[in-house]
């Protein structure tokens, strides 16, 4: 288990930011699967094992907060981070575990992800190369 990389599901409707984020997270030592919408993310979750969901807030269809609610109803133990370009915490963000600004930079994003992973107890710890 320890050597296995945590699997992060990245959800964003914008293709370029999503692919760059994927590369950064992989470089930080995570396995990454991506989805372009909330619906796609829910489908993916049924098939794949996912250790953490990092989702954009404003998306067509399900918003990040709505997606968080849907996921928590099905799989309450999966930690979810709302990842937003908006600096205000949304009112319906209660289902997510954390709210993170998109522009904190890779280092802070990584720190937050490992913090959430360890706090949730879903996984024993962050990937070795994440620091």
């Amino acid at each position: 288990m320890r050597d296995e990389k945590p699997i992060i599901l990245c959800v964003d409707d914008e293709e370029i930011p999503l692919s760059l984020r994927k590369s950064v997270l992989e470089k930080l030592g995570y396995s990454v699967v991506t989805a372009n919408s909330g619906a796609e993310a829910l489908k993916l979750l049924e098939k794949h094992r996912v250790d953490l969901v990092l989702t954009d807030m404003l998306m067509p269809g399900l918003s990040g907060a709505e997606l968080a609610r849907e996921i928590k109803q099905r799989m309450p133990r999966i930690p979810i981070i709302l990842f937003s370009g908006v600096n205000e915490i949304p009112e319906d963000a209660g289902y997510a575990d954390f709210f993170l600004s998109k522009v904190e930079g890779p280092a802070r994003m990584s720190a937050k992800i490992s913090e959430v992973l360890s706090q949730s107890g879903y996984l024993t710890g962050p990937a070795d190369s994440a620091a």
Partner: protein
């Protein structure tokens, strides 16, 4: 008709007025004589006067008539059996109702009798000797009748006048009551500016009781802005007779209030100034509410714009930051290219930082987290570092403890940002900003926590502002301040079950102000939960 004619004539004769009387009310003439023949002859003589003639055969009968009717004239024989004319007259005079009743005695001339007649000089008394000359009797009766009628009219007029006066007094009283009911301050000052009227609305608005301002000059009671004195409005007031506008007045306790003022000039008969009437309505709260609404709307609009801009900037910004992050360690880059990529990433993170700080604070977590006060203070200092340089402010830090507590970093950042911004703005010409953090245990409650001191060597806080400092919309910075900073800060600190206090001292070389914030290390779970939901 003959009676009316003679009546008019008699009016002219007795009063010299050409104008006939409107009031033709007949008067009662009581004739008293024990001899029916004489009564009959008087009746014949006086018939033409057109008055009511009443006959009485004795003094007793006469008194009965007097009690029943309003008698204008008593024509009485002097010598009668039982009660003679003089006795009757005396009885009549003793009664207050009949003191004005005219009495004419008919008698043979005796010196003693004439003397007795003189004794009645105060009242309307006359006498006629026997044999009676009809014209003389008629003339005398007519004069008395007319006198009686005039007196009755005067009495009536007097009554009406008294009634009108009392009515008017009641009206005025009601009007004065109305003026006191008004919530507006209503005052009247005379041509010299001396206050002559001051209603309870004015008492309430200005805090001056009526008896302390009446007779004083208005300038000594109410300071006025933007004018120097109340007389500054006179040119307008004299040209147009009225003045309307907003003024800033000072109350007794030195508070400045904005009043919507209406003033009117009341001229005297000769064209000079009689008085200046002034009605003032306190619109301070209304203005503040309007201003607060405008501010709130502006802030909300700014918030919406900030949200959109933040979103539109942050999305591509994240992608660029990530791109540089991937680029900087890329194996194909030489050292120089790698350094450029690294610089690019650093600068982008700076942009991101500014966007985050200026386009609204956000809270990372729904739950309170473990935070360090010195860390938060350093964070705020970093934000303000440019201001320190510009204003030549030295920063002195003394962190005696790590001061870790459970809370929301953004909340506390806002508190310290407000306090530090105030301190910086109080030192436009430079100065020293002192920050100190130390552990503290409340001696009363034994609650553990930290004291955070933020001190400046700036302009100080006026004693008169001390009370209002934490009130919403209170600002000494006019357009620059929202007047909400300290109020919000206090609210945040109170949610942490802490306290915020300040001291300001004036020294010879300047002044020193210090705010002290107490934050308990652990605030109750209930509060923490409440905050998380919020």
């Amino acid at each position: 008709m003959a009676a009316a004619t003679s009546w008019n004539t008699s009016t002219m004769n007795s009063q010299g007025h050409a104008k006939p009387m409107e009031d033709h009310e007949k008067v009662n003439i009581l004739m008293v004589d024990d001899q029916p023949a004489k009564l009959l002859s008087y009746e014949v003589i006086l018939e033409d006067l057109g008055e009511n003639l009443i006959k009485a055969a004795s003094a007793n009968e006469a008194l009965e008539h007097l009690l029943k009717k309003d008698i204008a004239i008593v024509l009485t024989d002097v010598s009668m059996p039982d009660i003679d004319g003089f006795d009757l007259a005396e009885m009549i005079r003793q009664h207050p109702r009949f003191q004005k009743t005219a009495i004419i005695f008919i008698s043979g001339v005796h010196l003693t009798d004439v003397d007795r007649v003189k004794g009645y000089r105060q009242g309307a008394v006359d006498y006629i000797t026997v044999p009676v000359i009809p014209e003389l009797l008629r003339a005398k009766v007519s004069v008395f009748a007319e006198l009686h009628r005039k007196r009755r009219q005067l009495e009536l007029l007097n009554q009406q006048l008294e009634h009108r006066v009392s009515e008017r007094t009641r009206e005025l009283k009601q009007r004065a009551d109305l003026l006191d009911l008004a919530t507006e301050a209503i005052m009247v000052r005379d041509a010299d500016g001396i206050i002559r009227f001051w209603n309870s609305g004015a008492e309430e608005l200005y805090g001056w009781p009526r008896d302390e301002v009446l007779g004083r000059h208005v300038n000594d009671v109410i300071a006025i802005k933007p004018h120097n004195s109340h007389e500054d409005l006179h040119p307008d007031l004299f040209s147009f007779g009225r003045w309307e506008g907003n003024l800033i007045h000072s109350t007794r306790d030195g508070r400045e209030i904005v009043v919507a003022s209406r003033q009117a000039l009341k001229s005297k008969g000769d064209g000079g100034i009689g008085a200046i009437l002034e009605i003032n309505r306190d619109i301070t709260a209304t203005l503040q509410t309007e201003e607060a609404l405008r501010r709130a709307e502006r802030l909300a609009a700014m918030g919406r714009v900030a949200g959109i801009i933040a979103h539109e900037i942050n999305n591509p910004l994240e992608a660029i930051i990530n791109a540089f992050y991937l680029l900087r360690d890329h194996p194909t880059l030489d050292d120089e290219a790698r350094r450029y990529a690294q610089l690019g990433e650093e600068e982008l993170l700076r942009v991101a930082h500014i966007v985050r700080q200026t386009l609204g604070f956000y809270r990372e977590s729904q739950h309170p987290v473990d935070i360090s006060i010195p860390e938060i203070l350093d964070n705020v200092l970093e934000l303000q570092s440019r201001h320190f340089q510009l204003s030549r402010i030295e920063v002195e830090k003394l962190y005696e403890t790590e001061a870790r507590l459970f809370g929301f970093p953004m909340d506390l950042k806002q508190v310290f940002l407000n306090l530090i911004t105030n301190a910086v703005q109080a030192m436009p010409g430079g100065g020293r900003l002192r920050l100190r953090v130390r552990d503290h245990v409340d001696p009363l409650t034994q609650v553990r926590g930290v004291y955070v001191y933020i001190g400046d060597t700036g302009s100080g806080i006026d004693a008169q502002h001390a009370k209002q400092l934490f009130e919403p919309f209170f600002s000494t910075k006019a357009a620059k301040g929202t007047g909400l900073g300290l109020w919000i800060s206090k609210g945040i600190v109170q949610k942490y079950e802490g306290s915020i206090q300040f001291r300001s001292v004036r020294l010879a070389g300047g002044s020193a102000t210090c705010f002290r914030v107490f934050l308990p290390a652990q605030f109750s779970a209930k509060t923490a939960k409440g905050r998380a939901v919020a």
